[in-house]
């Protein structure tokens, strides 16, 4: 009672945000983000399954072949980058600034490697969007994910620069936490894309 009154007296400026929703704004924002991404990727996956199931032909359509093994190596690189960003966050939580810097730099480099490899794969794959529905949906799905990787790389670049400028500490590392969540999300989406497009 007294604490609430004291808190009221110490507060300056307009009243603190007050809401009646049963979900906090942070959680609601994250749910909306997930929902929007599910709808975005869901629409592309719907198109993919439509092309594949309705056409009822072999996937990928002959004579095209997908570079499954190159994509597997790329998958390993991307998944490993999630471990390094996790290592970076765990490092800064313990006050290890150099662990944070090394982790973020490695993550950025691996993400860049993934994107460059995907670009090379596009250049050498032997088909393009004018060759029918299969190539179109292939480029759409992997390209949509590539766009997410590009956004993630941009975030990682800012995180890395800030890490080298000493902006993060054991007490203040929210920027690394949020970027890490996004990067893990991008990885999970790639696992789904890789399994769907390349494996199944």
């Amino acid at each position: 009672m007294a604490a609430a009154h004291a808190e009221h007296l110490e507060h300056h400026g307009p009243p603190a945000p007050h809401y009646s929703s049963r979900v906090t704004p942070g959680v609601l924002g994250m749910f909306l983000f997930i929902a929007s991404e599910v709808m975005l990727f869901g629409s592309f996956f719907t198109a993919y399954f439509f092309v594949r199931v309705v056409n009822g032909v072999q996937w990928p359509t002959p004579p095209y072949h997908l570079p499954v093994y190159v994509a597997f190596i790329n998958t390993c690189i991307l998944v490993t980058s999630s471990f390094t960003v996790h290592w970076a966050l765990q490092s800064i939580k313990r006050g290890n600034v150099w662990g944070l810097r090394a982790g973020l730099l490695l993550t950025f480099l691996m993400g860049l490697t993934f994107l460059i490899t995907q670009g090379i794969e596009y250049a050498r794959i032997g088909f393009n969007t004018t060759n029918g529905a299969f190539p179109t949906i292939f480029f759409c799905l992997t390209g949509l994910h590539g766009a997410h990787v590009f956004v993630g790389l941009s975030i990682l670049a800012f995180m890395t620069i800030r890490a080298f400028r000493g902006h993060f500490s054991a007490e203040h590392h929210h920027g690394v936490e949020i970027g890490g969540i996004y990067w893990h999300f991008v990885d999970v989406m790639w696992i789904v894309v890789y399994l769907t497009v390349y494996i199944l």
Binding site: M1, A2, H5, H18, S20, R22, H86, H184, V188
Partner: protein, 184 residues
Amino acid sequence: MRNPLRSENEAFRFLIACIIGALVIAGAAWANTWLGVAAAVIAVGAIVWWLKDEPVPGAADPTPRIESSTPPGMHRILVVAAPGTASVRIDDAASEVVVVVPALASTVEALTGDVDDRRANAERTAAALASRIPNARGEVGADDPALAVDDALRVFGADEIVVAGDDELEARVRSRVTIPVSRA
């Protein structure tokens, strides 16, 4: 259901679960594509079950009860009245009274945002009750009465709560606060 992106740690755990699921699917697909599809269905179901089954830390803890107070020499009363309440008897010693009427919307109405009529009804009740009580003002509260009390007490410190409603509402309000609760 747990939000897998609530924190970096949970996102990382979710990723690990997805990697395990992916390995199972890839192994099954290696033998036969349809076996891979079946494994994918099972793996997705398992991950959804894992997300649903895992309790959110602190979710099972009882909600802390709200304390309230007023400056010395004042006696504020918070009235919680169901929509349609005709009158409420209040102690004349009250220096300030706030009447909160929850906009009792159904689940479907709340989910679809179709609460305009409910709010209008609550506004009429709040205005009518406030006009009959000295030093009173009326407000519309959240559709959940306990949440409406919770909200009101955070901006209006009260010494006492008067409930104009059924036993269930009184019990719910009583469980949420530490100040005296009485029936109108």
